[in-house]
Symmetry: none
Subunit: 211 residues, 4 copies
DNA sequence: CAATAATCGAGACGGTACGTCGTGTCTTACA
DNA sequence: TGTAAGACACGACGTACCGTCTCGATTATTG
C-alpha cells in the first residue's frame, strides 16, 4: 500500500499508527460514496477519520494518491472462480469488473485519477502498481485454465512474449467495460456481455451475425 | 458550439465578439498543452486570450464545458478513408484514434471531462453530443463499407438493433485504445495494432496463436 | 491609513470598498477587546467583518499592520485642551495617554506590535507614521502654549533644533507612562501623575523632597 | 532560574541533564539573534540544542518563559560603578541600559514577552521577578550614593514610601530609553543622554534652555 | 443623432480548499 | 525515571481559484 510493506518495524520515534491508515482509507471511500470525487476534500477526509490533516499528508502527497490507495483494495477483492469454460470465465470477469465500476467509490474517481495521472508520472506509476498490474492476474489465470482445457493453444515453448497477448486482452476487456459504463453510459447487461464475449472469442464476423 | 448555433444576428446592444470566441478556444487548447487539465484555470485562459473573466463566463458555465468545446474540434478532424479492406479500415481507425490521444490537449482533458460528467447530467449530454456520438460515424461508415464488400453479413431486414453492435464495436475500440495509452501506458505501435485487429476480426483463439 | 489618501478615484476595475475598510478596522478593535492580541486571528477578523480573508490581505500584509491601523485611530482621538498652566497641561496629557493605554484594544497589542517591529523595517515605519509622529503634536502644542505664557523660554532664533527637545519630552512622557502601566503594572493615579509631573518640571531634587 | 533553584539532587530515576539546560538557553539566545522573537520556534531551539522537544517542555511551559530565562542573565550583567556624581551615575545607567537594548537578543524579545504577559499573570510575575525588580537596585544604589554625597535630600524618617520615588525614577529612565530606541528609533547618543539627564536632574525649564 | 442596451477590460468581492507550519502531547526504544 | 526521535490532534497561516459583482468605456440597434 504505502511505501514499505517490508517489516522494518521502525528505526526511531513513535511509529505511524496503523489504525490511522485504516480509518483514513475507510473515510475516503465513504466520503467518495457520499459526495463524489470533485467535492471530496482532504480536510473532510481528515475530520471523518478523526485524524489531523498533517497525518494525511505525511502518508499521501494529495487527493489523487490517497484515492488510488483507497480504491485499490476494491480491486483486490475481485476473484475469478473457475466457471468451467472459457466463455463462462470471460463473462464472469466482465460482469465482476462492471459491477465494481458501478460502485460509486470507483465510478466517480477512477477516470479522474487517470486524467490526473496524464501529467503526473508518480501518480501514473502508483495507479499501475496498485491497480493495473495486480488485476492482470485475472486474465492470466483465466487464460491458463483455458489452455489446460484445450480451449486456447498452449504457449509456444520459444515464444518470448505471452505477456503481450495478456496485456492486450486486459486492455481490451478493461477498456471496453470502462468505456461502456463510464463514457457511453449504457448498461452492462446480459445482452451486452454476451455480445462482447462473442466478439472476443470469435471475432467481428460472428458477433455481427448474431442478434 | 456554444449556445446559439442558429444565426440569430442578435437582439439589441453590442454583439458578442466572434474574435473573442476564437481567442478563448485557442488559449484553452494551448494552455492545456502547457499545463494540463488540473492546473488549467479560467483566469489563466482569460488572460492568455486577452479577455476578461466575465466574457468567459458569459459564454461557458465553467472549465469543463469550455474544454469540451475547445477539444471537440480535434475530433472533427478525424477521417476514415476507404483503405480497401475491413482489416485495413480497422487498423486505420485504431491508429487515428490513438494519434488523437497522443495530442496533449486531448490526452489530459478527455478523461477529466468524462470524470467530471459522472455527476453532471448536462455536461454528460454535452460530451456525448460533441465528442462521442460524432465518432461513431467512423465505425458506422467502416461497417457499411465492409458489408458492401461482403466482409460482414448484411443487416437482417427485421433486425431492430444494428445500433447495438455498432455501439459495442465503438466501446471496444475506443476503450481499448484509451486503456492502452492512458492506463497501461504502453505504445500503440504497429505490433499492438495488428494484434488488436486480429483479436477483433478473428477472436481470441486466432489472436493467441500468432506471434 | 492605507496607501493613497490622495483622491485618485481609481484607474480601472471595481474600486475597493470603503465600507469593507471600516468594517475590518471595527472588527479588529472589537476582537482585540474580546480575545486579546495573541488569540486574534486574521480569519476571525474577516468573518466578524463579513469579509473574505483575501480582502484583508489585499489591504494589509499581516496581523501587525492591520492592528497598527486599527489602533492608530484611538490615538487620533487624543486632544489636549488648554488647561491654563504648564503643570496642568502636562498632567492632562499624562492622564489622557494613560487612559488610552488602559483600553484593552491598545493594552494588549501595542507592545506586541512594537516587539514585532524590531525585526520588520516596514512595520516600524508604519508604526512611526501612523502613531508616533502624529502624537508629537500634543507635546508641540503644549510647549508653544507654555512659551506664550512665559513658563518656558522661547526658542533661540538661531537654534537649529527645537525638534530635539520635543522628541525628548515625547519619549520621556510616552515611555514612562507605557512602562508604568504595562511593565511595572502600577496604577497611573493622581499621586503618580503629580510626582511624575514634578520630576518633569523641576527635576530629581525637588521631586525627591516631596511626599 | 527554572523551577528548582534549590539543589535537591533528585528523587529517583535518571537526573535531568544540567548540560541540556545550558545548551537550551544558549540555543535560545543565538536563535533570537538570528531570527528574532516571532520566527523563533520551540522545535528550532530543540534541534539547535541537540535536544528533544520533550526535554524542553519538561523544563519550561512555553516560548515566553523560556525566553525570559534566556534573556534574564543579560540583565544580571548590568553594573553601576560609582562615577563620583549623581549626573555621572545617571548618565551611566542610561548608557548601560541602552547598550543592553541594542543587543538583538534583548531588543526583539523584551517587548514581546511583556506583551505576552498582559494576559498571563504567571508570566508577568516571572518577568517582574527575573528582570524588572533586579534592575531597580541600580536606581536604589545610585540614589543612596547621591544621598550620601548630599546631592539628594535624605529620606524623611517618617516617610512611608521612599519606594514610590524609586519606582517613578525607574519607570521614567527605563521607559524613556525603551521608547527612544525601540519606538522612536533614534540613537541613544551622547547628546541625547546629556539632554535626558539634564531633564531628569533639573526639569523642563533648564533642559529647554540648553542647546 | 440621441437614447438605450448589451458587451467589453479590469479587478475587487465573498467563499472554499489548499498544503504548510507551530504547538504541546503522546508513544516508541534506549540509557 | 530521562532522553532523542518523531508521530499525533489541533488550529492558524497566507495563497489560489471560483464564480459574481461593480466600475468606466465601447459599440451596436432603435426611436
Amino acid at each position: 500500500m504505502c511505501a514499505s510493506a517490508v517489516p522494518v518495524p521502525h528505526r526511531r520515534g513513535r511509529p505511524r499508527s496503523a489504525a490511522a491508515d485504516r480509518a483514513i482509507l475507510d473515510a475516503t471511500r465513504s466520503a467518495l460514496v457520499e459526495v463524489g470525487w470533485s467535492r471530496l476534500t482532504m480536510s473532510q477526509v481528515a475530520s471523518r477519520a478523526g485524524v489531523a490533516k498533517t497525518t494525511l499528508y505525511r502518508r499521501w502527497a494529495g487527493k489523487s494518491e490517497l484515492v488510488v490507495d483507497a480504491v485499490a483494495v476494491l480491486f483486490d477483492e475481485l476473484e475469478l472462480p473457475d466457471r468451467g469454460s472459457l466463455r463462462a470465465d470471460v463473462e464472469g470477469v466482465i460482469v465482476s469488473f462492471a459491477a465494481l465500476l458501478e460502485r460509486p467509490e470507483a465510478k466517480t474517481s477512477l477516470m479522474a485519477v487517470i486524467a490526473e495521472s496524464t501529467y503526473d508520472e508518480a501518480l501514473r506509476a502508483r495507479v499501475r502498481e496498485a491497480i493495473v498490474e495486480r488485476q492482470k492476474r485475472l486474465v492470466l489465470d483465466g487464460r491458463r485454465r483455458a489452455q489446460r482445457r484445450g480451449e486456447l493453444p498452449a504457449d509456444a515453448p520459444d515464444s518470448a512474449e505471452p505477456e503481450a497477448i495478456v496485456d492486450l486482452i486486459f486492455d481490451v476487456i478493461a477498456g471496453a467495460v470502462v468505456h461502456r459504463s463510464l463514457v457511453s453510459g449504457g448498461p452492462v447487461d446480459a445482452g451486452w456481455v454476451r455480445g462482447f464475449t462473442t466478439l472476443l472469442l470469435e471475432g467481428l464476423g460472428r458477433a455481427s451475425a448474431q442478434p
